[in-house]
Amino acid sequence: MSEGFNKRKIGRSLFSLRRYIIFFLLIAFVVTVCFLLFFNFLDIREEDVHNAAILTFGNVLLLSFLGATFDGIRHKYTVEKPVRQILDATQRLTRGDFSVRIEQPRDVRRGNEFDVIIADFNKMAEELSGIETLRTDFISSVSHELKTPLAVMQNYATMLQALDLPEEKRVEYARSIAEGSRRLSELITNILRLNKLENQTIFPDVVRHNLGEQLRECILAVEDLWEAKNLELEIDIDDVMVEADAELLTIVWNNLLSNAIKFTDKGGTIGITVKENEQWAIVSIRDTGCGMSVETGQRIFEKFYQGDSSRSSQGNGLGLALVKRVIDIVGGEISVQSALGVGSTFTVRLPKSV
C-alpha cells in the first residue's frame, strides 16, 4: 500500500498546472506593478493600451509556460532523480536485497543534502550486508556442527541394529553414540550461552571477590582431567581481589583451562599465574601444548574457527568466542602468544575495580 503511494507521488510530469499558475501569478504581478508605476503618468490612447494589453497578456502566458517547464526540468534532475533512486533503493532494501548501492554522482563534500543521504545510505547497506553475511555464516557453521555429531550417532545406531554383532563392537558403537550426544549437548549449551551474552540479556552482577581463589577452585574442578593426563601444574597464584561478575569469569577460566589441558600432551606442563599491578589483575595460563601459527592466533576468537582441523572433534569452536565476549563485557583484555610445537600462553588483564 505504501509502495503504491510513493510511486504516485514521485511520478510527476515535466509540466504541472500548479507550477504554471504560480509562475503566471508571479509574472502577472510584476508586469501589473510595472504598468501601474510607469504608464500611469503617460497619456496613451486607450486603443493602444487595449492592443498592448492583449499582447502583454499573451506574453505573460508564454513566459509562465516557459518558466514552469524549465523549473520542471530543473526539479526533475536535481530533486526527483535522486529521490527516485533513494526510494527504489530503500524499497529493494526492505525486500531483503542488501547488495543494493546508490550511484554517487559527485563528491559528497561538493554535493547537496541528497549526496549526503546517498553516501549514508550506502554505508548503512554495507553494514547490513556485513551482518547478513555473518548471520548466514553462523547458521551454516551451526548446522554443520550440529549435523556432524548427529550423523555419527545416526550411523552408529544403524550399525547397532545388525543382529550378529560381537560384544566389543556393540560397546564401541554405543560409546560413539554417547560421545556424539555429549558433543551435541556441549555445543547447544555454548550456542545458548553465547546468544545470551550477545543479546545482553545477562547483566553483569559485579561483586568483589578473590580472583586467586576462584582460579584455584576452577583448577580443582578439572582435577580429574589433568591428573588423567599426568600433567604437571606450575602454580603461582596470589590472592588478588577484583570487582567483576564471578559467574561470567568462570566461563573464561574454565574454557582457557580446558583448552590448555586439551592441547597439551601427556606429561606436559601447565603454568597458571595470578598477579596484580596498580590497575590490573593479570592472569596467565601457559601450556606446553601444540601451539599455533600467527594466522591461527589472530582468528581463534572468531566463532567456529578451529585452528587445527585434526583436533576439531574435541571442540566446537565456540569456547574462545565466549571467552572474548565475556572479556569485552567485563572491560578486560585478552592476548595470546604462541609458537607451533612450543605451546601457548593466554594472558587476561582485568581491571581491579570498575
Binding site: 555429549r182 549449551t189 584455584r216 577452585e217 580443582l220 582435577e223 602454580i235 597464584i237 559467574e247
Partner: protein, 223 residues
Amino acid sequence: MIRILVVEDDKDLNYVVCSFLKQHGYETVGCLSAVEAYDVMYGNPVDVIISDIMMPEVSGFEFAQTVRELNSEIPILFMTARDDMAAKQRGFRVGIDDYMVKPVDLDELVLRIGALVRRARIASSKRLTVGQLTLDAEEHTAYLQEEEIPLTVREFNLLYKLLSYPKKTFTRAQLMDEFWDADSASGPRVVDVYITKLRDKLSACDDFEIVTVHGLGYKAVPK
C-alpha cells in the same frame, strides 16, 4: 538395599535413569510427578531422591522444600536442564545436596549417588572410618585401633572434612571457611600449620595420607 526415588516427568528419561541405577545395584522407584512421589514416600521411605526442577503442578523447588521440612537428612540431587546460577542457588537454598545439568552422564550420576549415600551415612552415624582410624563427630575424638589420638577441635574438623571427601582437593580458603570464625585474622596459611600438626599426630596411621597439591591446597588420599 538402597532405595532411590526418581522424580522426572519425561517417561523415557525416567525409565533410562531407573534402569541404569538398577544395573548398578540400587532399588529404584520412578515417579512422573511430585504428587506421585509424595504417595510413594508416604508408604515407604527412600534413601536418596533424584528430582527434576521443571515439572507440571509442583516444581522441583517446592518438592525439595516440602521434603526438607519433613526430613532434614535425606540426600536430594537435582537433575535439570537449567544451568544458570540462579536455579542452582535457589536449589541449594531449599536444601538440596547435589546438582547435575541435563543431559547427565549416567556414570557420573552413579558416582555422585555413591558419594551422597556415603556422606548421608557418615552424617547419620556421626562416625567416619578409614581403615584403622575412626572419627567420632559427636565427641570430636579420633581413635586409631582403640587408642585415642588427641586432636584439637580445629584439627579434628579439618581432618573430618578431608576424609569425608577422599581424593578431593580443597583450597586453604575452603578448608578455613568451614570452621574458622569470621573474625579470625589469620591468613589461609594458618591451615599449613594445622596440616603439619595433623601429619605429625597421625604418623602412625598408614591408611591414608594428607597430600599437598602444590599451589592449590590439600587432599586426603586413602592408600
